[in-house]
Symmetry: C2
């Protein structure tokens, strides 16, 4: 069985002459005007693969759009238009009403307009195409991380993965934490900031959907660099660190936060940006020249790990 990325690469990744950037980043880019690109991306959520059948439809409406918003942010852009293809086994009006309520709440929150799409009969599936605008001077490519860059992540990691584990099989978790974890899973909150300002301070970015390690690896391979990650710095609740180790934060997936790399010289400005915009921004490591990813404990101990990010079809 091939892994998702190999399938794509082998069969669909063809050279593209007329556009600036094709398959292989969070979004493709094509000319908008002399200052800007359109960023465009499409993500599909399928029942039983990306969400459980008992997911609250309003939250699902939110999440379907939020995961796409996250792709545009990861290019340094602002989302603008969306098209929604909704496949359903039957036309349950109440379900559609709740789903659309969540969808439009998310759309309003991030300034997205629904401009098209279709509804069809089929297994429950939501496919969204999103368009956003990115200043050419601000594009955050996976291939642009520089040796010496700090590595930053927004928000908290591992919560959604904890929520999913709990929904699949209940176990003993503090109530406040599990509520937060399920909300993270069902209603992810990509940051809501002026991305032009954040992108100006950064060199590269990726959205955290498959898990920190798996997503960071895309940056490392495309930028031809390595990374040191400081495990104790990972922004994940203490309970997770103590009970579950770091695996949920490293490879749980479904975080829909941003990983950014930025010059060390912008460290103070990024801290100021996070304070001013009331977003959590945590420095978790740095980009190295040696092309390996090293997970380091505070005492300098190097860890190895087996669990990788989620690979579709793996």
């Amino acid at each position: 069985m091939l892994k998702e990325f190999e399938i794509i690469k082998k069969n669909f990744q063809k050279g593209s002459a007329s556009i600036f950037l094709g398959i292989g980043d969070d979004a493709a880019l094509f000319e908008k005007n002399k200052d800007s690109y359109w960023a465009i991306s499409q993500d599909t959520l399928n029942i039983d693969t990306h969400f459980l059948s008992n997911t609250n439809p309003e939250n699902l409406g939110w999440k379907s759009l939020a995961v796409n918003v996250s792709d545009i942010l990861a290019m340094g852009g602002h989302p603008k238009y969306a098209l929604l293809s909704l496949s359903m086994p039957s036309a349950n009006e109440l379900w559609v009403k709740k789903f659309s309520r969540g969808f439009f709440k998310c759309a309003k929150n991030y300034g997205v307009e629904l401009i098209g799409g279709d509804t069809t009969h089929g297994s429950l599936s939501i496919s969204i195409c999103i368009l956003g605008e990115v200043l050419k001077s601000n594009v955050l490519l996976r291939a642009n991380a520089k040796v010496g860059d700090d590595i930053w992540v927004t928000g908290e990691l591992g919560l959604a993965a904890l929520g999913l584990k709990y929904k699949k099989r209940k176990f003993d978790v503090p109530k406040a934490l599990i509520n937060k974890a399920i909300i993270s899973l069902e209603k992810p909150q990509p940051i809501k900031v002026d991305m032009q300002k954040l992108a100006k301070l950064s060199n590269s970015a990726i959205d955290l959907s498959d898990g920190l390690i798996s997503d960071l690896e895309h940056i490392l391979s495309q930028s031809k660099v390595g990374a040191n990650i400081f495990l104790e710095s990972l922004p994940t609740p203490v309970w997770i660190k103590e009970k579950k180790g770091f695996s949920l934060a490293l490879s749980g997936g479904d975080d829909y936060q941003l990983l950014l790399t930025a010059p060390e010289g912008n460290r103070q400005k990024l801290i100021q940006f996070s304070t001013k915009n009331q977003i959590k921004l945590t420095r978790i490591g740095s980009i190295t020249a040696n092309k390996n990813m090293a997970l380091m404990k505070a005492n300098g101990q190097l860890l190895t790990f087996k669990e990788k990010g989620f690979e579709h079809f793996a």
Copy 2:
């Protein structure tokens, strides 16, 4: 159970201020530059709903893109970029190889570039978002049919529906016809012409996906007009007319041909255009002021009909 269009209308059709045209036509339009719009559309094909499980994967790759190409043509535009979301129950490499071969043959034929998308685990489903370019002076809106316009269709109607009926349950059909019908079903051929020239001669258009009657009704209701359709003029094989009546051509669906309305004064130019471009273009009726759709036999007899176009979830 609600019909598809009512579900969309009730829950997703919200006013849109910043774009030229939102949900409700074959594609949405938004500013490209002072002369052109981007036309964007998204269509999903699901197993058992839009194609049978034994469909040739290469043909399915072709069709998935062709049905989206058809939407851009129906706006008077040329397709340019596509994003492909492919959901599969398992990563069958041979299947993907064949599918992608058909997809890229269609892409090459219509000048489309694949710029993004994703592959995910789920019930077999193909969702494609397509972008095209339309000259502002050439936009073919469903709402722009004029009283007195001729009604034209490209290609032949009812063949795909015949092919589907036959694939579901074999019956006695001439071999040459059934081969043609199955190819029409599995490898629809939207016209390949300079749409700028065709659009200049026309007032409105829609792509024929749900069936002539159902699709024409969108033009009539949005243009607030009626139509006379001359049944004997319908471009459908004699065998279909004799054995199956007109229902396959009127409401079979899956034709992916264009229905155009054009001023009577352009009749000769359209005939010349069809000859020059070697496409079949048939005048099947005219737009009237009385807001009804009348199906007329050559002897002037009016027909009533019960079978309507395919409505998802109906």
